[in-house]
Symmetry: C2
Subunit: 316 residues, 2 copies
């Protein structure tokens, strides 16, 4: 049996996992992200953790049985593994895979963007299992995206592959997105965006809604009330998911995946949400048969990144 | 020296070419598309033509020096080479590559959509030379598109890869697109679309324009007058190219190519047109640095399909 390590590096913690060639997660653990020295500190921690983990496993030889380490990084990664800047990790101008490989005595390593790696993980062992071309959207504080085509991540030549969250969906948005742009998908379909749309809708009409009674409205509240039949909440959430479906209709005619996978905190709203997205997708384009495209809930949760990072190192 | 054959099958004619491994077009010719027997007639013609062509070339052995035949087809092609239907060729339920290969005694063959094959051709020997990830848009009677990622066509799992022409760009379009949808890019940025937009703009205002004096207005007229400073023509063409740039801004955040290649009859307007698209692209998204993306004119013209079809058979 062969094994790979997946390292999903976040701004606060690093998730590590050992996965076998059949996709079983043998062990997983977390360590804090120790910033500084342009990434060298947390890279050393990762290398130490990997050595320690295999030293404790009598049945696995790190030299003979481990194919390599895959890394997910929260920032743009060029196809050759170069990371110009990654604000959350306080690093600049590095080749993370080369760095880690050197620290591990030449063990093979690869790196990709964290959202892209999560998409690869869902394709391999999650909602996309059995498929080789998927598009994953993560609806969290922001909107992340990853495209996998014929089994491989589409990193993009500038590291912007699958950056669905910053595609323009509204032309006359006065408020600015975190990216500096206006009218990005993230401003409507992220958890923050869903609340923003709901508040805006409440302000623009006097329709009754139980949303008005909630002081610190959350995306979960909007979803729960929409499910519960609150009309304004439903209208508001439909608007947000319609913007998402608009973008998915473009992806359907760009890389044309078998399945769209919806993850992130907002996806806890379940099939109510994916049904809404699927219906809107069908409205957007007559040559897209909505029943051709599965809109599925992500199944790996926070482990998607570990799976995908490890999968970088397994042969196709 | 090794050679491949490219066959670009259109509804009226089939373009054939022999290309060597260095990308030189050794010979090219055309035959009429003889429809009938579910594609068997023109496939036999292609096989005969190929045998005849190599029989005339003393320096090339068809058995030893020819790697195979690539085919471009005007319809959706699934990743496994299956063509469900191709209206212009009057064929249904066929595997064109297998068919041709059988007719040529087992010579290797591959098939892909014609717009995708043209994109591959431009990547290899045209405006995308030196790059491996491009997006090509053909502005003709319709709007065709093809995406090449890391040297390979993105066919799409339903054969809809790179179908930019039918991405929705306008929400409230009353007129129907040829595809049955409403508000497709093709309705604004194709040659027909450019004229439609111009006529609509003329009807909606009383601004003076030399376009009003032309009885049978063409896309070329609109482009020529826009170049010449006719304000309404310029506004109209800018509107059309803005819709195209909107879609390209989404592709920039989906597959993130190095270069956008603009081909088709409308592209004869030259750098005036690509400059206009490039400027609009930069406006659409702040995280897309417009100067990162080259918007280039296609250079292979009608030969792009032959080049791309042949390239299907050359190793990467």
């Amino acid at each position: 049996m062969k094994y790979c390590v997946g390292a999903d590096i976040g701004g606060t913690t690093i998730k590590l996992g050992i996965i076998d060639e059949e996709g079983a997660l043998i062990s997983k653990w977390e360590i804090p992200t120790r910033k500084g020295e342009n990434g060298l500190l947390f890279m050393k921690d990762i290398a130490d953790e990997i050595r320690k983990a295999f030293a404790e496993k009598d049945d696995i030889s790190m030299e003979e049985d481990v194919l390599g380490v895959g890394i997910g990084i929260p920032g743009p990664v060029l196809p050759d593994g170069y990371v110009e800047v990654c604000v959350n990790l306080d690093v600049k101008d590095i080749y993370p895979a080369k760095l880690l490989s050197d620290l591990l005595g030449g063990m093979p390593a690869k790196v990709a963007n964290d959202a892209n790696v999560a998409a690869l993980g869902e394709m391999w062992q999650g909602a996309g299992k059995g498929h080789d071309s998927i598009c994953m959207v993560t609806l969290g504080t922001g909107v992340g995206g990853g495209i996998v085509n014929e089994g491989r991540i589409v990193p993009g030549t500038h590291g912007a592959g699958g950056e669905l969250g910053h595609m323009r969906v509204v032309d006359d948005e006065p408020e600015q997105c975190n990216c500096g742009g206006h009218g990005c998908l993230e401003q409507y379909a992220s958890a923050t965006g869903i609340v923003r749309v709901a508040k805006r809708m409440m302000a623009s009409c006097s329709d009754e809604s139980r949303m008005r009674e909630i002081e610190d409205l959350s995306a979960k509240d909007v979803c729960d009330l929409a499910k519960d039949g609150d009309e304004l909440a439903l209208r508001s959430l439909s608007y947000s998911m319609d913007k998402l479906a608009f973008i998915l209709s473009h992806i359907a005619l760009a890389t044309d995946p078998q399945v769209f996978v919806i993850g992130g905190g907002v996806s806890r709203a379940g099939t109510f949400l994916t049904d809404m997205i699927s219906e809107a997708l069908g409205r957007y384009q007559s040559i897209i048969k909505a029943d051709k495209y599965d809109v599925a809930l992500a199944t790996l949760g926070n482990n998607a990144g570990i799976y995908g990072a490890a999968k970088l190192m397994f042969p196709d």
